[in-house]
Amino acid sequence: MFEKILIANRGEIALRIHRACKEMGIKTVAVHSTADADAMHVRLADEAVCIGPPASKESYLNIPALLTAAALSGCNAIHPGLGFLSENAKFAEMVVEHGFTWIGPKPEHIHMMGDKIIAKQTALSLGIPCVPGSDGEIRDEDHAREVAEQIGYPVLLKATAGGGGKGMKVARNADELRQALELGRAEAKNAFNNASMYMEKYLDHPRHIEIQILGDKQGHVVHLGERDCSLQRRHQKVIEEAPSPALNAEARAKIGAIAVKAMQKLGYESLGTIEFLYQDGEFYFIEMNTRVQVEHPVTEMITGIDLVREQIRVADGAPLSFTQKDIEFTGHSIECRINAEDPISFAPRPGKVTDYHAPGGLGVRVDSALYSGYKVPPNYDSMISKLIVHGKNRNECLLRLRRALDEYVIAGTLSTNIPLHQKLIAAQDFIDGNYNIHWLEKFVAAYVEQLAKSEAEAAA
């Protein structure tokens, strides 16, 4: 096994990786920018190297600095964590070229899944269900009608050159199709100087459900069930849970088997997550993440498997120590992402933590690099903690989560979204598990309005 690993990341995920290493008897090297000299991962690591100034580009994204630090500290392997360089195929290649082990999948798989079009083609070829649509450009109205009838209404017309919602139109039935196509083309022409359109099935109330995959270098692949990450705001996940309130064991086993078969065919050999939209009992591939996810702890809580440990083991060439039938799902787990942000504007609100009290007790896990006296730097992501709770069932889990949020104190010159989480988990729809990817935006809009109103009243 590796003797020493360089952790090419910061914050709670660097601490998470450090913990897995220490439990495996592996020494850790923390790298950090000058802004992170006091960070918990730096304090706890066996060694620490300052690699650059606060700007990520010159520190955590600085490939020569990372490789030099790894060489100088005598590391055997580099763990990229998530974000930063974790899905940079070129970095992965260079890590290997310089004689270190890359703790992640083959660079070719990172590259493949990093390109939306290649990823979808690959998914299709591997038998992973995708959103049905036109095999390319829509030629004319007749063609549009033909494809729409084939895939079923509602349909979504999208600009081939598009992005940011421009040139996107929904047609709920045949009557709406002509106008949608015309308006879409006009918008696309205006925005991109390219009127070409393609068509996909439109999902109006999907959930975001993702399947956790783990493969080794001997060709074994298992799935560790799903996570429901439908609670998103501006494409940022806010709360994740496992299992999904919307899946039963049969549906889980079915999509899991599809994912395992596909990954075996691909020869995928690390942690990975296949993200789907899920609506009316059907899964539709969105993308694949070729790294550990922020929300991996909910899977750990219900399976008892340390995913980061397994990721390190398989990177070292060890075969999986368990098979699919050894994996049991016990109870329910929910994760709240705690961000240092303004409760109304959601703008980052970093600052100094003067009083810190993390919740404890049965079924409560905190993955956070915070401590009393720590100054959250303004240079990086606003996520400062993950509160993960486990219960025998979803109801116990919810009650425990409420208790833990009520207990959590992060006081100082920063502000956090703990109050939003408290409101959110008290919402009837959330309690019922009755939500889709659009639910949180609406909830937040109402919450912010209410908050702004009461602040205005208080000020009046």
Binding site: V29, E47, V49, C50, P64, A69, L72, G373
Partner: protein, 154 residues
């Protein structure tokens, strides 16, 4: 009870030694006389948290080129040249060749002070200003971190 004598001068001297050396405690015993002085180290507010407790707790910079106190003093000096990258510092262009600079040398702005090797690339580190080399903090062929003091020029 006989009046206990004590050497006030001695304690003042010990205190000064304590101060100067950065020690936290001195104890002297001599022919039945024992004197011990101690000084509480700065716990002030929330500077680097004294992570007593676990063994693996103290952050250990992987590559420290010089004793911490000297480095700290050098770092505070306005004429301190700090490392712009992680790498290995070399005092001379090649092993066996004379070093680029020695203490007391006058240097011109832009003159190479040392070389830092990173990723097999030799990066000459120039003097930011003209002046006299007051202190050379780095060790030849040792690793340096980003921001680590290298040379002090006055």
């Amino acid at each position: 009870m006989p009046a206990t004598k004590f050497d006030e001068e001695l304690i003042h001297r010990l205190a000064k030694v304590l101060q100067d050396t950065g020690l936290s405690e001195i104890e002297i015993e001599n022919e039945g006389t024992r004197v011990r002085v101690a000084r509480q180290m700065q716990i002030s507010a929330m500077a680097p948290m004294p992570m007593v407790g676990g063994p693996a707790v103290m952050p250990q910079p992987a590559n420290t080129a010089a004793p911490a106190t000297a480095v700290a003093n050098a770092a505070d000096h306005p004429g301190c040249v700090k490392s712009p990258m992680v790498g290995t510092a070399y005092a001379a262009a090649e092993p066996g060749k004379p070093p680029f600079i020695k203490v007391g040398d006058k240097v011109n702005k832009g003159q190479t002070l040392l070389i830092i090797e990173a990723m097999k690339v030799m990066n000459p580190i120039p003097a930011p200003n003209a002046g006299t080399v007051k202190e050379i903090v780095f060790k030849d062929a040792a690793a340096v971190e980003f921001g680590e003091p290298l040379v002090v020029i006055e």
